[in-house]
């Protein structure tokens, strides 16, 4: 028996975007369990609000926006997040001359986890390379200049942290946290 139209559309959206959405959720939350939950909830909300998707070509951006909103909603109830202040980090226009070694994904996650969401989201979307600066600006409802500024600071922070050697204990802590709930 064939599925009803709406259900078929949602299943197609799942098939096409669930991997990207999960990865985005994982990089946002830093936790596999949370990423899965966020992904599931984002698809549920998409199913409920399917009529809002007027341009099927922009389904991916639409789903990413939904997921971010779900994440932000949860974040507001979680007051225990540990984030570093980026006040001390200026707009780095000249990157360190030291070449970046191969990046460990978990070390990257630790560096991402330190960033406030307003910096973390654009830098994740930037490195996924599927979204233009304008896409990022639209998703975050920010001016392009603000996105560029935040990206520069977030990238500088990431590079700085990724150049630092990481202690095995911190890495182990990060691995543990990857399975924690929000």
């Amino acid at each position: 028996m064939s599925l009803p139209g709406k259900q078929r559309t949602v299943q197609r959206l799942v098939d096409e975007h669930y991997t990207a959405l999960y990865r985005y959720a994982y990089r946002l939350s830093g936790s596999g369990a949370d990423a899965e939950d966020l992904t599931q909830e984002a698809f549920c909300k998409a199913h409920l609000n399917l009529t809002q998707l007027r341009e099927p070509d922009r389904a991916k951006a639409w789903l990413f926006s939904i997921l971010r909103n779900v994440y932000l909603h949860r974040l507001r109830t979680d007051r225990n997040e540990r984030r570093v202040s980026l006040d001390g980090i200026g707009d780095v226009t000249v990157p360190s001359p030291e070449p970046l070694p191969p990046v460990d994904p978990e070390q990257l996650q630790l560096a991402l986890d330190e960033l406030p969401e307003m910096f973390r989201t654009p830098v994740i979307l930037y490195y996924f390379e599927d979204f233009s600066y304008r896409d990022i600006a639209e998703q975050m409802d920010l001016p392009l200049g603000t996105v560029m500024s935040r990206l520069a600071r977030a990238k500088a922070h990431l590079r700085e942290r990724l150049l630092q050697p990481i202690s095995p204990a911190l890495l182990a802590d990060g691995r543990r946290r990857a399975t924690d709930g929000l």
Binding site: Q7, V10, Q11, V14, D15, Y18, T19, Y22, R23, Y26, R27, G32, A35, E36, T39, Q40, F43, C44, H47, L48, V94, P95, P97, P99, L100, P101, P102, V103, D104, P105, L108, I124, Y127, F128, E129, S132, Y133, M148, L151, A152, K155, L158, R159, L162
Partner: protein, 237 residues
Amino acid sequence: MLLEFARPRSGELPPSDADALESHLAGCIECDAQARADRAADARIAQAMRAVSLPAGLRDRILDRLATEQTNQQSRRLAWTARLAVAAAVVLLAVGFGITWFGSRPQPLDLEQLHAQGFARSTSPQREKVEGWFKEDFNLNTVAPSAFNYAYLKDFGLASCQGQRVPSMYFARGETEAHVYVISKDQFDLKALSESEPIESGGFHVEVHRDDPDHAFVVFYKGDSLRPLLSAEEPAQ
């Protein structure tokens, strides 16, 4: 600044700016080195960023959750529909009860209307008015006899005779009283009525009066004569 925008394959820069940047990098060792380092670092971070392993069975669990949510949503919708239906039924019942209750309540007596219908009518009667009352009260077009003095009209209404509604009037003055029935040619044979002999019935004298070919007035009266009730007589003070 251009370098910030110059993501490989991104198309962020207009072609002219992209060409200008590439031309500059080709001729500037320092900027070229910076661009290469920058792009290499970006490539490594991007690779690591996407290196997220997917948990086994994720797709199926997403679809299961969607199915569960859909079922829950349908249940919620059903529950809401049921609640709305119950609420609508309660409202309808309340409205129906209210209408029934208000409808079944005895009406308050309108004394002014009673006065106009009864006392006021009997104090200012005229023949045309009496005909009007038949129309108002019984929706009946009829005529009243012209010979009578309506100052002596005491009552009027409808009598039933052989299954027909017959307008009736009651006049009284002293010992003389008369019941007048208006007979229409559409109801009874007026010619046969006119040709019948005068009769006496239960102490009443009976006469038939005519004002027009379409109606006859059958008058039952008590007293020596009908004359005291006719319009030629002066009404008693």
